[in-house]
Symmetry: C2
Subunit: 149 residues, 2 copies
């Protein structure tokens, strides 16, 4: 087992599982996101563009939930994308607290151009698991993710 902790079998199993989950997520993430540097996009910036591309214009907070980042962080991520002309903010008229974030044509073109190689990268990175194993992994992860409030 990967852990050097000396505890009960239950503890060692949980720790080992936890460590492996993290190492896998980290190495998979690094592999999949490496190509984003070619486009000068961070993982968060890419995730934001991708979310809007697939879901349509969304509020800042909603995008933050999708890419697992804090609201304060989203302000900065959107700032950067806006400065580069990839997204635009639009205050909602019926509730002036909310700001919808849209893709600009440039943003749309960029994400559309990147996505195919991104998807190919995800497929390639996960190809060490069979389709059945990928389904198993997804199911276990979902169970684990759902367990929290």
């Amino acid at each position: 087992m990967g852990t050097h902790f000396d505890g009960t079998a239950e503890e060692m199993l949980a720790l080992d599982c936890y460590i492996k989950l993290f190492r896998a997520a980290d190495s998979v993430g690094q592999q999949i996101n490496a190509h984003l540097r070619d486009y000068d996009l961070t993982t968060s910036q890419f995730g934001t563009l991708e979310a809007i591309y697939h879901l349509g214009p969304r509020q800042s907070g909603e995008l933050g939930q999708k890419i697992l980042k804090s609201s304060g962080n989203m302000t900065m991520v959107i700032d950067h994308l806006e400065k580069r002309g990839l997204v635009s903010r639009q205050r909602r008229e019926d509730d002036r607290r909310c700001v919808d974030v849209h893709l600009t044509p440039a943003g749309h073109d960029l994400i559309a151009a990147i996505l195919p190689s991104h998807v190919a990268g995800v497929v390639a990175t996960l190809s060490s698991l069979s389709a059945e194993e990928q389904q198993q992994l997804a199911a276990l992860c979902r169970k684990l993710g759902l367990a929290q409030a």
Copy 2:
């Protein structure tokens, strides 16, 4: 499936698996590391202390590999721990490029005090999976992690 991408079955499965892996790692990590704030430790600081506690004094670079951080980052993490008197640096005599990082008595006491509740948190967080499921998850993650160079 969790993805809104419209591609081949292979692509959708890989994307779904990738997303769920990340969400699980994120939510598990947040849950498990929340208590570290009580001790004013970041995840990286805790990981560094824990690694030395279990493995013994180690070089900066080796610790970085364990906790999956860059060498430059390790310099800062160790700086902070050293300032708080939790670790000490010791230049190795036989190779003066290397610096071994040791726990101070205060560092040793702190990590020893934190570890039991940390382990309990890991066990609790993973308890939504049976022992068998945890073994499956660990095995799938290892396979995925091993696939990269």
